[in-house]
Symmetry: C2
């Protein structure tokens, strides 16, 4: 809870992530409402007791009136339209987003001259499901929620958005947009690409292979169940970073292929892969303390702490 009884949140796009923000914020005591382009989507949310409509102007006028934090939860291809609406009806609200890739969103926000109150965000949570029906108030429980500390970000909107993320149950990872995008290419976009490739190889083995498939195939292809247009909307705006990591993956797999062919072993790959997975299992979040938004150099200090694995667990 925030201790800010008047805090209000307006969510634009109530799919899996945006819908979960709406639910989590409402559960944390925020006045929360939302917009969804599809009437069917709005209706499902209303049927669950949430204040969601397809009238973007009304939703945004209310945001301006109530000084709400606006959370953009639409997929990347719909971003420009929604930013135009924000510019028209609620240009002075604190603005954040949950649209995965950060540098292209920040660019678009600045193109729409909405940078002054903007703090890019990315909660690291999801399932292979999508839409309001898949949203849940506890989706962000203990999740990492990346928040941009790019040059020019201001302390007051940053603090308000960070508080929202914490109130949704997450911990806050302060990060520069371009470092975020390179990191998620590794741990979110590459997993999608490899899952698609693995699914293709399994299905190419026909009923026999699919019938023999067990846990390793099921888990390794889980995110290939995500709607392909959604995977594209997540990965393609991060093409440059994904390209770099995919190229390096081809190098690693090509080397494994060569040693398997030439000496019949995959010793280097398994040693490096196991050690990397141990790094992941051992990776500990440590609590950033003593850096206050607005202090001298706070953006750089937070970026440095986030880079070293630090997270904000409270604001004070």
């Amino acid at each position: 809870m925030t201790g800010h009884p008047k805090a209000a949140v307006c969510v634009l796009g109530t799919g899996l992530i945006g819908g979960s923000v709406l639910r989590a914020a409402a559960a944390a005591g925020y006045e929360a409402w939302g917009y969804n382009r599809s009437a069917a989507g709005s209706k499902s949310a209303r049927a669950d007791g949430f204040d969601v409509t397809s009238d973007v102007e009304a939703v945004l006028r209310r945001a301006a009136e109530r000084d709400a934090i606006i959370v953009i939860g639409v997929p990347m291809p719909a971003l420009d339209t929604v930013l135009s609406d924000v510019k028209s009806f609620a240009p002075d609200c604190v603005l954040t987003d949950v649209v995965s890739v950060k540098a292209p969103v920040a660019e678009a926000v600045h193109r729409h001259e909405l940078g002054a109150h903007f703090v890019g965000g990315h909660p690291m949570a999801g399932t292979s499901e999508s839409g309001w029906a898949a949203s849940a108030p506890d989706l962000f429980e203990d999740a990492a929620w990346a928040l941009s500390v790019d040059a020019g970000v201001r302390a007051e909107p940053w603090t308000r958005v960070a508080r929202l993320a914490l109130d949704c149950g997450a911990v806050v990872v302060p990060v520069l947009s371009d470092e975020h995008d390179r990191a998620v290419a590794r741990i979110s976009h590459l997993p999608h690409v490899l899952a698609e490739a693995l699914a293709i190889q399994g299905a190419a083995g026909g009923n026999l292979a699919l019938g023999l498939a067990a846990g390793s195939f099921r888990d390794g292809t889980r995110v290939a169940a995500t709607a392909p247009e959604l995977v594209r909307a997540i990965c393609e705006p991060n093409a440059a970073a994904l390209l770099e990591v995919l190229q390096d993956t081809l190098r690693v797999l090509g080397a494994a292929r060569d040693t398997l062919r030439d000496s019949g072993d995959i010793a280097d790959l398994t040693a490096a892969g196991h050690s990397a997975r141990v790094d992941y299992d051992d990776n500990q979040r440590w609590a950033i303390t003593g850096i206050r938004p607005g202090d001298h150099d706070w953006l750089d200090q937070l970026a440095d702490a986030g880079r070293r694995g630090g997270v904000l667990k409270t604001l004070d």
Copy 2:
């Protein structure tokens, strides 16, 4: 239950899979005992109330006496030693194995002149854990258990081993050894290779990337937590089939890299990957009926049914 009160099972190698066979067989009413090379391994099993020792001769002499089904559960590198022991002390017992790759095991069995009573097997179950401590009596519940229908396999041992698999809670997938090995390269060995590569790319992103990693990375790298020597013991005996599927994976990923670089999209990859994952989700096991081991052409008929996704759910 089998209705064969005298059925006996002797498990050689009581790690994750062999130990689980021992537990499942005992739970199903079989007289079951085992051998484990390490005294510590035997001791843990005995502490759990199971009859496991490190005296392979005694264990195998008892198998000969009790006409037990011998189940080989040692990793591939230990196979030759164990087959020598079987040849010395219990050459006439029905013999099966749970050693993943099938053609190399069958070759070794025939080299030791133990082919007459042999039926190669592979239960499709496991975790990233290993050893007796990870074994469980319900590991095979509803799992696919591949059983070889290679030319020369005889009906009586096949029926006995199939009954054991069913009694352990699995369904039986009849399959030719080389078709099995090509299929598991796709759905079991390639997942290991891709998980290792993904883990490497995540860890290369340092604390920031590992701290942002969520479900897709966790699931995609799960099997990279398996001990690297075990991954090698599983994958390397199937080098030829794995090489072929890895080569094709490089082709698929290389094509994705090219379109991402040249046109900024991964449309072909996501469409094909999603469709493949849907094939997997939709894949239904259907029950093979009306083919009796020993009937004219039964091996070919079972191989054909298994190839088309059929499984044996009962024997009658």
